[in-house]
């Protein structure tokens, strides 16, 4: 049954490529006579904006019709305790994949943390149902293959909005496909005859858990945004960058580019960084 995993990822790839190809449209870059506009265009990093916006609108409709109502019902009708167990379980399930990436990134501290978390939570936490490691002071973190590529020096490439999956880029899309095909726990459990349902249920629960956790934040962004598409694009790209480089911390914060000369008064430089 192992063979079916790579073919599943190929399928996912093909679907995305097809969707992109069908809708392909490119934003017209600004004229080279306006260097500031060109800089802005490059920083925005969204040459496929018209296509991305179309997919974003589709995702929004899908969310409104299906994902959000289901997440809200899950929030309203399933007790906190049960939702916490689901969260801890699907999070722990990802730990082996996280460990592989911590190691690939050469991050010994985080690898040790992930290893301790996985053994404690799987053992004392009854198969991951209870996150006992966090309570014991071993913090959690998120990472994935896309982040590993970034640590290895791969650039993100242009901003992409994926059908259903949402904001991404070619580097992280490749990472998602690899994570999907080679998640160690999915892989080994999927190998067992008659246990495919477990990995599929895990995937569905993971999506449900993430959407439920994001209900308030997304409602709030929607309430205040002038243009939800560009708001989400900025938030996603900044957040992803911070996650990969283990920010936020005081030492690693880039300057947004305020002028440093006090004599110059409240002048602001034009660069973002």
């Amino acid at each position: 049954m192992a063979k079916s995993f790579p073919s599943r990822s190929v399928e996912a790839f093909a679907t995305c490529a097809l969707a992109l190809g069908l809708l392909a449209g490119c934003a017209s870059p600004p004229s080279a006579t306006d260097p500031e506009a060109v800089t802005e265009y490059q920083q925005t990093n969204d040459p496929l904006e018209p296509t991305n916006r179309a997919i974003f609108d589709f995702n929004q409709k899908l969310d409104k019709l299906a994902f959000k109502p289901v997440a809200e019902a899950y929030h309203d009708y399933v007790p906190d305790f049960a939702r916490d167990r689901v969260h801890d379980l699907v999070d722990n399930w990802r730990a082996p994949l996280r460990l592989a990436n911590d190691v690939a990134q050469g991050d010994a501290d985080r690898a040790v943390e992930t290893f301790i978390r996985f053994t404690f939570n799987t053992g004392f936490g009854i198969g991951g149902l209870f996150d006992v490691a966090s309570a014991a002071g071993v913090p959690n973190h998120q990472t994935d293959t896309g982040a590993t590529f970034a640590v290895w020096g791969a650039g993100e490439g242009p901003y992409l909005v994926l059908p259903v999956l949402g904001p991404s880029n070619p580097r992280d899309l490749t990472g998602i496909a690899i994570d999907y095909a080679f998640d160690p726990l999915d892989y080994s459990i999927g190998e067992l005859e008659g246990f495919r349902w477990a990995t599929e249920t895990r995937g569905a629960l993971s999506g449900l858990d993430r959407r439920e956790k994001a209900i308030d934040a997304l409602n709030e962004i929607d309430r205040t945004a002038l243009d939800l598409y560009s708001s989400i694009r900025s938030l996603y790209r900044q957040h992803r960058e911070a996650e990969i480089h283990h920010r936020p911390s005081l030492d690693k914060l880039p300057s947004p580019g305020f002028s440093s000369a006090p004599a110059a008064g409240p002048e602001i430089s034009q660069e973002t960084h």
């Binding site: 205040t224 957040h239 911070a242 996650e243 440093s260």
Partner: protein, 212 residues
């Protein structure tokens, strides 16, 4: 040549001497900045949760606090970016007014909401590369990972003004700037398009001031 070298050396020495008191002062500033943010956050929450006041009165109190602690001209210029210079003085003034309304209506609701189920904690402070100060704080939520919030401050003779809020590594100011640039682009490069979108959004937020 010799004379020039002496001159340069003495200029260097002078620079070192004048730089010294500033580094000594910085330690006091850092403590002051931490206290400033601690007070600001608790006052912001109090302003939005005082019993016996209408929502509009609470928002008015929040606005007073906001005007006294945020450097609006600086962040307004940054948020409008390259379009600030092409805007007419009238457009600049209207933009700053609408931007203030946006920020007050957005963040008053967020502080009100936060008051119910989070604990706010100031962690640390550090000078930044722009001769300002960054205060690190943490929002603790029950059963969830804490949220990191960094406050970027501009200092001026012992007084502080907030110029950015960085939530989980995401700069709110950069987000506003990128969103506003996009709105202007979508409107054929016209600032009027952004002003119009802001007017509509502010009216909408005033109708429905707080999140559900």
């Amino acid at each position: 040549m010799m004379f020039r070298r002496v001159l340069m050396l003495s200029a260097l020495a002078l620079g070192l001497i004048t730089a010294l008191p500033q580094t000594v002062r910085a330690a006091d500033d850092l403590d002051g900045a931490k206290k400033f943010i601690g007070d600001l956050a608790s006052q912001a929450i109090t302003s939005m949760t005082t019993k016996g006041l209408a929502v509009s009165e609470r928002t008015q109190n929040f606005r007073k606090l906001f005007i006294g602690s945020v450097d609006l001209p600086t962040i307004g210029k940054f948020a409008l970016g390259r379009h600030w210079r092409t805007a007419t003085p009238e457009q600049q003034r209207e933009f700053l007014g609408l931007f203030e309304d946006m920020l007050v209506l957005t963040w008053s609701a967020r502080f009100k909401d936060a008051a119910d189920h989070v604990t706010f904690q100031v962690v640390d402070a550090k000078s930044d590369a722009d001769q300002g100060i960054i205060v690190e704080s943490r929002i603790l939520r029950e059963k969830q990972e804490p949220v990191s919030v960094l406050w970027r401050l501009r200092t001026n003779e012992g007084s502080f003004r907030v110029i950015d809020l960085i939530v989980e590594g995401t700069s709110m100011l950069v987000e506003y700037r990128e969103e506003y640039a996009s709105v202007i682009n979508q409107n054929g490069g016209k600032i009027e398009g952004l002003l119009d979108a802001l007017r509509k959004k502010v009216a909408q937020l005033q109708q429905r001031p707080a999140a559900q």
